[in-house]
Amino acid sequence: MKKRAPAHLVAVATALAPAIATACPCQGASGAAAGVTTEGDRVGASVAETARVIDGAFQSDGTYSPLKAGSRAWALDFSAIVGFRPISRVELAVETAAGRQAMSTENGGTRTTGLGDTSFRARWLVVDEPMPYEKPALPWPGVTVVASLRTPTATTSDSTSGTFSGRTGSAGAAASSEGLGAFEPALGVALVRTLSERVQLTAFGEAGYRFADHYLDRPRQLGPRLLGELTARWAPTPGSGIGAVVDLGWEGAVAYRGVAVADSDQRILTLGAFAYFRAEPTKLRWGTMLRYTPPFDGAGKNATRATSLGVSLGWAL
């Protein structure tokens, strides 16, 4: 489900979200509502390294098949995000990536190294959760709107000799920050609900549209993309937390030369776990994220199955 802002990067950034104070909305958002800065920061930055191992793929009927013995596929992404808050409720961010990916079979293999796509993102906290002392009749969730534009700055894929494009997907554990090859504007909404001093739930939905492109030296139109994500976070201290994520991504059928390829829509279910730590009183933050697509039939369609592990280091001021 290639390619949107790299899901793993968003996830790692999520892990970086600091808990300012456990108890109320001011503890900071989790999940997709979290950026590289919090409302109390002005600027922030983070770098992340994510390793992905691709174990197999789902056929068009959802049947999972592992890679043949002797075949290997992996990728290593290095990504960076810089965020800025012109006002406390809005974060503007830009992120880019570089990566190396490879696939080998018993008959040979390919390796490519190159720049990834660049994404611009705006997060706007439209409605904050009620404070505990307000005791509203309807405890509404915090609402954050996330708008993004992914731009195809990645190295052009070799469509004539390569055996692996890096477009392993754009959602879930297989998400690559390497070339999607098309402009993708996306709009998402995150609902954040703090249940107790330590527990927070986030629901996120996002839709993206891909413009037509010639990335593979032929007219192409990637299908639209949808993502639904649920995040649960437990923050035992103001500066640390762990959490779990489940998301379901979907991408429409791809079209070449104006004709959609039948049965080429994608789907992928991904499970994840994260942890973060803020090294008070410094402004450094550390996070890690593990993402995994289970290898059972129906968990995906036309998508690669992968396991990814990312680590990140962030700083905010």
């Binding site: 098949s65 890679l67 390569g162 839709a207 639209p224 949808l226």
Partner: protein
């Protein structure tokens, strides 16, 4: 059960996507799907010839495969063949095409990973060119 849930969710997501984006999807290309163990009969894209494809050894799998191609048109020849993963956007290694009596053998057709592959046979008859496409869901 999870499979059913996942498919239901997928349909809902798909419907929502089309609604949300206002996208009118192109009409899907009904490239015939080639299933191992059964010969595939199809017409070339511009109607130059009929094409019958069988899998050498009766199976299609990850790794190296071979096809036997029989063309209906007397003057038509199979020039080349190629494979491509339309979803992931990458080709496979270029296979070899050799004449085998009245048929053609496509060898070295390597499916590097499981999933949906599109195979294209490039055809020529004197000054005309044509092609025949089919898809394979590689297990």
């Amino acid at each position: 059960m999870i499979n059913a849930w996942s498919r239901t969710a997928s349909v809902l997501l798909a419907s929502a996507a089309l609604t949300a984006t206002g996208c009118s999807a192109d009409k899907p290309a009904d490239d015939p799907k080639f299933v191992a163990g059964q010969p595939l009969a199809l017409e070339s894209a511009h109607g130059l010839t009929s094409v019958t494809v069988t899998a050498d050894g009766g199976k299609l799998e990850q790794g190296t495969n071979a096809l036997l191609v029989v063309l209906g048109g007397a003057d038509v020849e199979l020039v080349s063949a190629s494979s491509f993963m339309p979803v992931h956007g990458h080709p496979g290694p270029t296979p070899a095409v050799t004449r085998a009596g009245s048929a053609y053998r496509v060898t070295g057709l390597e499916f590097t990973m499981p999933g949906l592959w599109q195979v294209t046979l490039d055809l020529r008859a004197q000054s005309e060119t044509d092609s025949a496409d089919f898809v394979v869901d590689v297990p």
